[in-house]
């Protein structure tokens, strides 16, 4: 019993340290990648001065943020305002607890893994609302309510798309879902669900073409307008870490997780497959951001309610019929 507890504690703390280090480095890398991708799409070079290929640029930026003053605006809610950045960063880190990086590289392979990630990603909505409300800034509040409306609207088709995969495996456990894709990746069987998932995930992370909540040209910066220094930094890191999480979940649900294509592993370790696929998906999300214009708000909401939700419900019923017949 004692050894179980110690090993459990050891695993947790070790996992946490690795996750913290990885998530921060990963977010810094993704910010750099985003700027490079944006630069090349707009026929610029992007960051290039600090370090090789400008790789150290975001680290320098981060250090600068630590040195900046944490401003609390006048008549802001003094209790809610400081905890909003913590609230936005905590749930995305919890997601790492169940991500299946490789067959033996899951911190805790819970039987409700998929559910856990979506339950905690719902926390982000609360954090955004708390941040926007507490700032006492009209633009921040507008950005926050738009963001909440958008996030809740896209959460439903997202969940339904994931359910059609769960239906095939009969389990919420990530390792079971990935094991089910040893021969064929689920996006070949469930192309509609995969597409719905990717669109909704882009919307959930508040990225263009769904970046109405922080539409720079009309709302300053949306819900995080008033946050300065490291508080803003945490919102920023949370956004990029969240991008990694949704891409990693897409990889494990639809793109075979740690498996190579069609059961061919080519001698490459599982974690390499997993990370490669995740980063390709992240690149696609960035590519989309710098290619498509922003949607109008009513178009955005109608896309979810009038198109994605009926489609995902229909997809679920069709999946159920096909599973029964086959």
């Amino acid at each position: 019993m004692g050894s179980l507890v110690t090993s459990e504690w050891f695993r947790l703390v070790l996992g946490l340290v690795i996750v913290l280090a990885f998530s921060q480095l990963n977010a810094l890398f993704l910010v750099w990648l985003e700027r490079k991708v944006a630069g090349h799409i707009q026929l610029r070079i992007g960051p290039k001065e600090v370090g090789p290929f400008g790789l150290l640029q975001t680290i320098v930026d981060g250090l600068k943020l630590v040195g900046k003053e944490l401003i609390t605006p006048r008549s802001a809610d003094s209790r809610l305002f400081p905890i909003a950045p913590v609230l936005v960063f905590m749930p995305v880190l919890v997601g790492f607890l169940v991500l299946p990086f490789a067959p033996n590289l899951i911190i805790r392979d819970m039987n409700v893994g998929v559910l856990l990630i979506f339950a905690f990603s719902a926390f982000t909505v609360l954090a955004i609302l708390a941040g926007g409300w507490a700032s006492n800034n009209k633009y921040a509040l507008l950005g926050a309510i738009r963001s909440v409306a958008q996030n809740v609207a896209y959460e439903i088709p997202l969940l339904l798309a994931v359910l059609s995969v769960v239906l095939m495996v009969n389990s919420f456990q990530f390792s079971e879902i990935v094991k089910g894709q040893e021969r064929v990746w689920f996006f070949l069987i469930q192309p509609v669900a995969a597409l719905i998932y990717l669109i909704c995930a882009t919307a959930e992370t508040n990225r263009a073409p769904f970046d109405i909540p922080e539409a720079e040209s009309e709302l300053v910066a949306g819900f995080h307008t008033e946050f300065s220094g490291m508080r803003f930094g945490l919102f920023f890191l949370a956004e990029y870490t969240n991008m990694f999480i949704v891409s990693a979940v897409a990889t494990s649900l639809f793109f075979g997780g740690w498996h190579g294509p069609f059961g061919l592993d080519l001698g490459v370790p599982g974690i390499v497959w997993f990370l490669a696929k995740t980063y390709v998906l992240i690149f696609v999300i960035m590519w989309v951001r710098w290619t498509f214009p922003r949607l109008r708000f009513d178009q955005l909401m109608n896309l979810s309610w009038k198109f994605m939700i009926p489609l995902s419900l229909a997809n679920l019923v069709v999946t159920a019929i096909v599973l029964k017949l086959v």
Binding site: G15, K68, A140, G229, A320
Partner: protein, 136 residues
């Protein structure tokens, strides 16, 4: 890192919740300390100008806690309806094999009712973001 197989009285669920709790707590401590260090090392030169809410340079008038447009409330209500129904579908999806054709028929009926509800909202104009033309 080998997955720990829980032994004896502990079900796989209990250490899971415990682990989640400890993990969440440690994350909060980490993020909190990060903010504390930033607040400690950062500059501290407060001024009246700095603490004014930034609304594109225009001096803000009154409180920002204004009334929301009504469609946002509608979205929240619809979300509640559909999300609670999602919870039923979740439990059905994991036990799909055991439930057989009867389970399938019941849930298909349930989803059909959901779609009917959505169509009703749509026809009634609950999903419209513009004010509707007044009916005579």
């Amino acid at each position: 890192m080998e997955p720990v197989v829980s032994a004896g009285a502990l079900s796989p669920w209990e250490p899971g919740v415990f682990a989640l709790f400890v993990y969440g707590l440690l994350i909060c401590v980490f993020v909190g300390s990060q903010l504390f260090i930033a607040g400690w090392l950062g500059e501290k030169k407060p001024s009246a100008e700095k603490s004014r809410p930034y609304e594109c340079g225009v001096i803000p008038t009154g409180s920002a806690r204004l009334r929301y447009p009504v469609p946002f409330y509608l979205v929240a209500v619809f979300f509640l309806i559909f999300d609670v129904e999602g919870a039923y579908i979740l439990t059905w999806a994991v036990s799909y094999e055991e439930l057989g054709w009867i389970g399938w028929a019941q849930m298909s009926f349930f989803i059909a009712v959901l779609l009917l509800g959505l169509a009703y909202l749509w026809v009634k104009g609950g999903l419209d973001w513009m004010p509707l033309p007044r009916k005579e």
